[in-house]
Symmetry: D2
Subunit: 402 residues, 4 copies
């Protein structure tokens, strides 16, 4: 995780969190350990609760506590009561100046059972879409007491995570599950958002003929202008050999589409939830189901003898059949989180307004996103130009008009 | 111009401009004729002045007046006084409900010499960056009396115009000027905005090894993640064989870079203004200049015997050495303009708020951009999916949170 | 295996092997079962020995014998004597008209212990490079008694097997072993033959910046003209992040290159033999080796603290870390073999000279390769044009000259 | 022309043609001047006749004679008698040791009117397909008295000339003629030989959706495996927006196809002869023809109101609407010619058998092709690896078998 390593050096030299306490609720894994140690190196007093008891790795929890001075409140397999007690303990251990949340439970607990701590909180970060939705509802009701930065979605993260990460791991999952040759195959990609575009470009890079389906005309036009064939799913269904859904929508491949498909068609979902392929419809169409003809491949035999191959039961193929995001993605996500937190602490001079945001849900400032992108480039050994004084002046004059 | 043709059919069937007058200040060309005839077909009383007397084609002006019922106030080569008189005449001919401007002179005249007409104006469109800058200054001073839509920049137009249009016409201009073989050549593209990306991808599509230079780390990372080599210009200068600037900045290629270049290097600018390559520095470095060794190619012979080839005197190579935008770009730009005007007229049910914008400069609403994209697809014979009721409900539930 | 299935239909309708016996020496696997059943469906009396006792699947051997009328002489784990006895038994069971060999042992046995059967043999196919080398030596000594077709190398197989199959499975192996993000990474591909080109294009398709190294100027120029950066390995070594060898040569990555590499560089071999990366040099340079930091990844820690990651111990990463060829490759290889055998049988009217080849080693006739390509297209549902009479006449006139 | 410049340096330092006379029959142009001056620098006594009186540039002829010591026999616009007299004069001026021909007239004259000179001739080069056909017929009849090398077709020239040169100039010609936006367009490329592949890849590189038609299944499969959609022309005709023929065949686009096309379809031929699009059928289908609606664009209006746009009257669009080959192609072609001639002279140690070929038509030796490729790379500043002694030994051992 080169970005976190670079930040470690920087924060150790100029600690942004001196005299500040951070309460974090995160999956207790090796990657998280890197993040909280980074905060610690930056001067923070850190307390950590698990955002999910099932993912807690006890040895890592122990090492953080024993070797790195982190106050850890987490144990694998703890029950629901224990889970919330851990969060409360993490909050009360050091009254937090800053928080990191992963789903919303820490912020919720802070506003209910630990409301006395609220005046001390400068702000925090939330990394999941679900958590952001909860925060926005709180904010809409006027109930959110401090600023929270939604670190889930920035231009940089969209490129690295969705287009490159999901694009690669979706293809990876399909190859691991099926070992099918993509060259010459007709691959149908449903959805041409950042993820779908990543899948489509990578399938093309392996020699596939790619068809894109979309409901949004701007995205459909984008696909078309990049040389992809754009069709409605009803027309793509009978010609596709591999289908990948990446829409965020529901029943993108439905019973009618399934009935029209070729024998041997492969169905994979790269979207977050297992709703994009109508698996129930597939099951009801099938005369017989042969589970696990290969790992993560179920063969649905239709009445007319055709067989459709469903990967990962319609769940996200990237995670089920491959390993999900490459480590570079988590490195970037945690790096943005650490930069945003330092910015909230108000001690890192990226923008000048750090620590002075109003209560509410906020985007990651563009400066921080740019800083993260710059660090990714720098750790890869890539350097870029900087604007000269004359160029800055020219840009300024242009913005003003002459 | 298939998009304007499709709108012509639609507007003729359901006229959005009945009982409305439109005053337009535009280049009087064949393409403009298509636009004003479309407005006329949509029920508008149209008066037209020239936005530049040098580009006025008198035969087209005459045909619009005689055959199509447009009140035209334009003559090629008219002087400055005549120019403004024409604008005033266009404004007073029918007191306008809507305006179309191309640089800001009509709106300015309206607010000064024809201020009596202001209360009648619902709004208008401005298509140039310069015009938008003037409008923003007026708005900042509280002087803009009605809403103006900046039609210059939408997601759709950025794709078609900058990435595809500029990307293609820059390569086209370089080939027409030099006939050089791009395959195997090292092409350096300065700037990875929408235009620069278009140039870079097309150069790669012709077999070039492409290097990108940038000052913005997010764009630089984007280039890198798409497989382009990213270097500072100082490192790119000695290895490049063809240089294309597309930054919007000044002196992107400067004396130091020029001194480092290989013999025979080709220099082209795809940016709007001729400031990106420091031509003055090049001239002062040259021991001799051989103008027009081919049309639009000047050979600068340096003291050490190397020769650098400057295309189009550093002006925009797309326009000088090729023909500028393909017609599809103007079709889209005018189509967005017509849709925006109809929306301002408040009679086309795209959004519901048409005609009720406050005074000020506004972006093109996303719905109108999507509508334009959909029309481009439809006229090319491409159809796409539409959200089902279940998918709409799912999206809605997701936005709200569960 | 759609190609074999299509041939099955064809051969069942018009049996090419009636009254002919085929003796085959092949890996006794599910794929081989498809091939020998196809020959049986084509009318042949088939006897089968194992080309390697370690790969024999006894259940498949039994099923072929019991259900499909194949005379099988194979048992898993049989010793060397048993191995050769099985070959002799397969030869003597039906005196063969045609043979299929996989390494040369059947043909060798036929010329030594079973020479009495030679006069009956019309010819055969050999599918391995090793076997072809043995046959060429026999032919050079005048010892080969009948024609053998080397089915290993045809234009079609080179595309499907080397470029697409190896290209895909090499990337697949690297991703399974490392889960590294390829986008933005500098990938060095050594060798730009059919396999290397496949790897390079697929790495680029995933967003990598690809550098190619070559010793052959024609191939190097090919890489350059396709937009790849071409460097000597000594210059590529310090900038690469992932290295893939596909040269067929030895020590392509040597001690000097290893010493120059970046910390964390990944080393993978996609060539047949484990000689392309000098693993011995790597071991001797290492201060410590951490085997299996992930499956198939050994971390070599150098004295200066840098770590190099060797995949699959330098053996072919496609097979060790992934699953080797996609099934489409074996389908094509066996399809060509079946078509060549039918052509040798002289009863399928593809060329007219079937069955009349002189003794010696022969290439697959172009007509048969074209027929295989046509079948691959047809089974994918792709149809192509055929020359009209006028076009045939034009081509003929052109060949003659006017 | 960097390759000729590099050879000039080499030949001046080590003259391969000392005491040898070369008789050449070539277009008397600036490029030819470079070649004959190179031969002169290499020590040859050179006499030059024009291969076509219409292309003779008198000023260049004069400069070669006056300044460079070439015996030139050429004048623009000379009649048929004068043309042959010039060839005879070039032959008799110095009895040639080596010849360069461009169509076959010099070699023919040498065998008929100047047969006395034949014993002195070591061999020569022929650069056109037509000339090679004539030579092969002479050789078949036993009438060719010395070895002639067909320099038209080598692996290197096929890449640079057909794939890159024709690929680029075909797109260039289409853009100059139509200025149409390729992004998002459906482009149909007929023929997937080296030229067609070049066109198809470049159209895709500009964002087009490319369909390939073929009659050869191996080429069709190649296109499919590279991700192109493959269709018969009858199915491609109604969906294509731009058609490019590159087959070398006749009536590839016929009346039935024309009748099926979309309004506004663009028809371009990139093949050598104007037979690929059935222009006569198009004319007979047209209700009206509007010639030159743009330069090199004729609009054929069909009875039903559709319009088809024929570029360059169906002649090779690369040459008619653009400038044909980039100079790099001619540089390579002449470079191969010069290397082959030096090899024939027997004094340049590339292979060892130079000057000892039997009479007949010969391919360019692979060593010479590799040398040309190496020079192209070197002049572009690209260096490559060389085989080490150990690698050479390994390769040798492999060829022999172990």
């Amino acid at each position: 995780m080169p970005l976190l390593a670079a930040l470690h050096q920087r924060f150790a030299a100029q600690p942004p969190f001196e005299n500040l306490a951070v309460a974090a609720c995160l999956h207790v894994t090796a990657e998280t350990a890197m993040l909280v140690r980074l905060l610690r190196a930056g001067g923070a007093a850190v307390s950590l609760a698990a955002s999910n008891p099932l993912s807690t790795q006890d040895d890592i929890a122990a090492a953080l506590a024993v070797n790195h001075g982190i106050a850890v409140f987490a144990r694998a397999g703890v029950d629901r009561n224990g889970y919330y007690r851990h969060i409360e303990a993490a909050l009360s251990h050091h009254p937090p100046d800053l928080v990191i949340d992963d789903g919303g439970d820490l912020v919720n607990t802070l506003h209910t059972k630990a409301a006395a701590l609220l005046p001390n909180v400068k702000g925090g970060c939330e990394s999941t879409t679900t958590g952001v939705i909860r925060l926005r509802r709180m904010a809409a009701e006027g109930a959110l007491a401090f600023p929270m930065i939604a670190v889930n979605d920035t231009a940089t993260k969209r490129m690295v995570d969705n287009t490159c990460g999901t694009g690669q791991s979706a293809i990876d999952g399909i190859l691991r599950a099926t070992n099918t040759l993509l060259a010459g195959k007709t691959v149908v990609v449903a959805g041409f958002g950042a993820s779908g575009r990543g899948v489509a470009e990578r399938a093309r890079g392996f020699g596939a003929q790619v068809i894109v389906t979309e409901v949004d005309p701007v995205r459909a036009l984008d696909a078309s202008l990049r040389g992809f064939r754009v069709l409605p799913m009803a027309q793509a269904a009978p010609v596709g050999e591999v289908f990948v859904t990446a829409t965020g929508s529901v029943d993108v491949i439905n019973a009618d589409h399934l009935m029209a498909m070729r024998d041997g068609a492969i169905l994979a979902n790269a979207g977050h939830f297992d709703v994009e392929i109508d698996v129930r419809a597939l099951a009801s169409l099938a005369a017989a189901v042969h589970p696990d003809v290969r790992p993560h491949v179920d063969a649905y035999e239709l009445a007319d003898g055709r067989t459709l191959l469903l990967l990962a039961e319609g769940r996200v193929v990237n995670l089920v059949a491959a390993e999900g995001h490459p480590p570079e993605v988590m490195d970037l996500a945690f790096g943005i989180e650490a930069l945003a937190l330092a910015w909230l602490a108000g001690t890192v001079p990226t923008g000048g307004t750090g620590g002075k945001l109003p209560a509410g849900v906020h985007e990651v400032p563009a400066d921080i996103d740019a800083e993260a992108a710059g660090l990714v480039l720098a750790t890869a050994g890539t350097s870029i130009d900087t604007l000269t004084a004359a160029q800055l002046a020219y840009r300024e004059s242009w913005r003003i008009g002459s």
